[in-house]
Every structure is written in C-alpha cells, then in structure tokens.
C-alpha cells in the first residue's frame, strides 16, 4: 500500500512539473512585444464607453438593469456602474492604479462580501496587465490558441486568447476551491457581444449583453 502512495506522489509531482514546464516564462518586454499588453483590452479601449444589458444573480436574488463601463484616459481609471431599469444607481466601482474603490453602493450590494466578489469578478476583465509582476507571467501554446498565466494578488489567472490578444475565456483560481469562469463572445463582425461570469462555489453569476459602444472619437 505504501509503495502505491509513493508511486502516486511521484506521478502527481511529475504531472504538476510537466504542466508547469510547458508554460514558458517570459520577461515582460518580450511579453509586451508578443501581445502588446499596453493595448490589452478585453473591453476594447479604443472605445470610450460600453453599455451592457445586465443580469446579476446573487445568493438567490435576481437583479437586472444596465452596466455602463467607461474608461478615462486622463487618469487611466475605469468606472463600472450598475443601474436599474428605473434609473437607480445600484453601484459604481472605480478601478484605478490596480485598485478598486466604491463610489456608490446601494441596497443588497452594499455588503462587504458582495462588494469583494463583484470587484474581483470585474477585475478579471478590466485589470491592467502592465501591473503584473514580470516573474509571474507565462504563456502556453495550445493548438490554435494561447494561454496567458499569471498570479496576481494571490489569485491565479488564465487568459485564453487567439492572435492579437483576442481573449475568449478567463479562468481564475482563488484559493484551493474557488474558481471563476468568464466567457467572452464576439459577434460575426468580431465585435464584443457578451460576457458571462460564473462561480464554482458561490451562487453568483453576471451576464452582460452589449447594447452600445461609444467611440473615443465621438
């Protein structure tokens, strides 16, 4: 029995070692050259703002409305605002210098646990990759797509993308058991269409369907 345990341990270590080994560690400059992180944009920063139809299901509650995301080039900040159909501002989170702050938060959402989960979810799609420590980034090539892997603020991120950092899936691992899946769907014209965020262990999901984009030039 003991020998099986040893074989199991050796095999597990081997699998772990080979899976890590296939990720090639890159320096940040090379990464910048390869995928141009400065232009990294799941939300396509060429647009000034995006308006989504939103559905947030959290712990048995179902909220619908609009999510408005606006990028401010002046201070590189991003606002994420959730508005009910009747116009009530349910929350406004500001992402700046790799940190979130609560601008407004009302009703059910105004709880520390909920705020942390929502900010963590939105971090996956708005965070600035240039803030990630160089030695924690690696890239793996799989068939016709690549996986960008890094650890940031104790969480493991996996960005699945095609050429030009066209991200179609984000997988985030927080601790041993918590995982977050983000799927990003584009339409036939290669424009952002929908973003769906789901959790493995929390009854919380966010579904966003793009309604309108506003170009920087407008």
């Amino acid at each position: 029995m003991r020998i099986y345990r040893i074989i199991f341990l050796i095999l597990s270590s081997f699998i772990l070692f080979t899976s890590c080994g296939t990720f090639c560690c890159l320096n940040k400059q090379k990464l910048l050259n390869n995928i141009d992180v400065s232009n990294y944009s799941i939300l396509e920063k060429k647009y000034n703002s995006l308006l989504f139809k939103a559905n947030i299901k959290a712990l048995g509650n179902d909220y619908t409305g609009l999510i408005f995301i606006k990028y401010f080039a002046s201070d590189s900040s991003i606002h994420i605002v959730f508005i009910s159909e009747l116009g009530l501002n349910l929350f406004d989170f500001k992402y700046k210098s790799d940190k979130f702050e609560v601008v407004t938060c009302k009703d059910f959402f105004n709880k520390k646990q909920i705020i942390n989960i929502l900010q963590s979810d939105f971090r996956s799609i708005v965070q600035d990759l240039s803030k990630i420590e160089t030695n924690k980034i690696s890239i793996k090539e799989v068939n016709d797509f690549k996986i960008l892997k890094f650890i940031h603020l104790s969480d493991k991120y996996f960005y699945f993308y095609r050429s030009n950092f066209d991200v179609f899936r984000i997988y985030k691992k927080a601790g041993f058991f918590k995982t977050i899946n983000v799927s990003i769907v584009k339409n036939s014209e290669d424009l952002l269409d929908s973003i769906n965020i789901s959790h493995s262990r929390i009854r919380l999901s966010i579904n966003l369907k793009l309604i309108k984009v506003q170009n920087n030039a407008n």
Partner: protein
C-alpha cells in the same frame, strides 16, 4: 449686419422667455394647490403617454437614454413599458406587481412585499400627479407661468439613502405630470419626460394582463 442684429434679437428674446419660464416663485399655501390637483386628478380616469428617461451621470460625463410608454387606469392599474435600449415591462394589476424581462415573468404581491409596495405607490402617484398627498415626503411647491414644481425630500432616512430629492413638474393647463427628476446626488439623477400625453381614452383591461 441687419441679419446679425435679427439673430441677436431672436436669441435674446428666446433667452428672456426661457428665463421667465425657469424662474419659479414659492407657493406658500400648499392647501390651495392640493385642492386644485385633487379636483383635476379626480377628473382623469386614464392616461396614455410616451416617456423618455435620461439617466444623467454628470460626474462621468454620461447620459443613458431609455424610451417607453405607459398606460394608467384608475385606480391602481399601470403598464410601464420600455422599448429602448431593450424591452422591459412592469405591470401593476390588482395588487400584483409583474416584471417581464425577455420571456421571463416575475410576480410580486404588493401587499406582502414592502419594496414593491413603495415602488407601486410611487409610480401610481407619480403618473397621476397626486404625489403631494404622500406623507412620506417633505414638500415645497413653486410655480411659474406654465408649470407647478413640487420638490419632495423623503422624510424616512432609509429612503433618503436611495433618493435625495425628487422634482415633479406639473402642467398648469391639465395638471398632468410633464417631467420627473429623481436626484440621487447633485451629479447623479434621472429625468423622466412625458410626451404625447392623452387623457380619458378608453384602455382595454387586456393591456394590464401580462403573458
């Protein structure tokens, strides 16, 4: 030169008219206004109106516009329907609050759900214009040549956290609500403008049945 002078004259005339319309004087005796509103709303049995809702986020330099239509029938039937930016429907019918989002219909009992009771009362009194009889607000009233302006500040501290102030503009001719402004803060507010208002037209009960 003559054309320029005409343009300047027309512009200043327009500005003068605007200034006159926008300058309000306070109504000291609210009871007189209450009686006028009560007398007129009692004559109105149905209202049909289009509306434009503008969510203003001045601090983000953004406006989000929604458009829709509502049907109201005395005393507690309302269909409040959004067509833009997407279809969304609220129906109040016989003590039930229905929300239809895409094909999904959610039903809430107004009498057992406090939040929906508040929303129900607010929507009904807002479209009717008799919100000034609601004791949940401190009310100041103003008037200019064409409009009454009611400024409502919630008395309840929990309500204050949601809406700091509501302004209701009422047409002096027909006592209908022309515009509602719900202020969450000075730089975050929602303007609902009612256009193409029609009164006392026959509305089928089917309008308030949701499928």
């Amino acid at each position: 030169m003559k054309k320029i002078l005409i343009v300047i004259f027309l512009f200043s005339l327009k500005f003068t008219i605007y200034s006159q319309n926008s300058s309000y004087t306070e109504i000291k005796d609210l009871k007189i206004l209450e009686n006028k509103i009560e007398a007129n709303t009692s004559k109105i049995n149905t209202i049909i109106s289009d509306f434009v809702q503008e969510k203003k986020l001045d601090y983000l330099d953004a406006t989000i516009t929604s458009k829709g239509k509502f049907w109201f029938k005395k005393s507690n039937f309302l269909r409040w329907e959004y067509f833009e930016p997407y279809k969304y429907l609220i129906v109040i019918n016989a003590g039930k609050f229905y929300i239809k989002n895409e094909s999904k219909v959610s039903v809430y009992d107004v009498n057992t759900n406090k939040v929906f009771k508040e929303v129900n009362d607010l929507l009904i009194s807002m479209v009717q214009g008799n919100i000034m009889f609601d004791k949940k607000f401190h009310i100041d009233a103003f008037e200019n040549k064409t409009l009454y302006l009611l400024k409502l500040v919630p008395i309840d501290s929990n309500m204050k956290k949601i809406i700091a102030k509501t302004k209701i503009y009422i047409d002096k001719n027909d006592f209908s609500v022309v515009k509602v402004v719900m202020e969450e803060s000075e730089t975050d507010y929602t303007i609902i403008s009612f256009v193409n208002r029609r009164f006392n037209e026959n509305i089928s009960d089917n309008i308030f049945n949701i499928k």
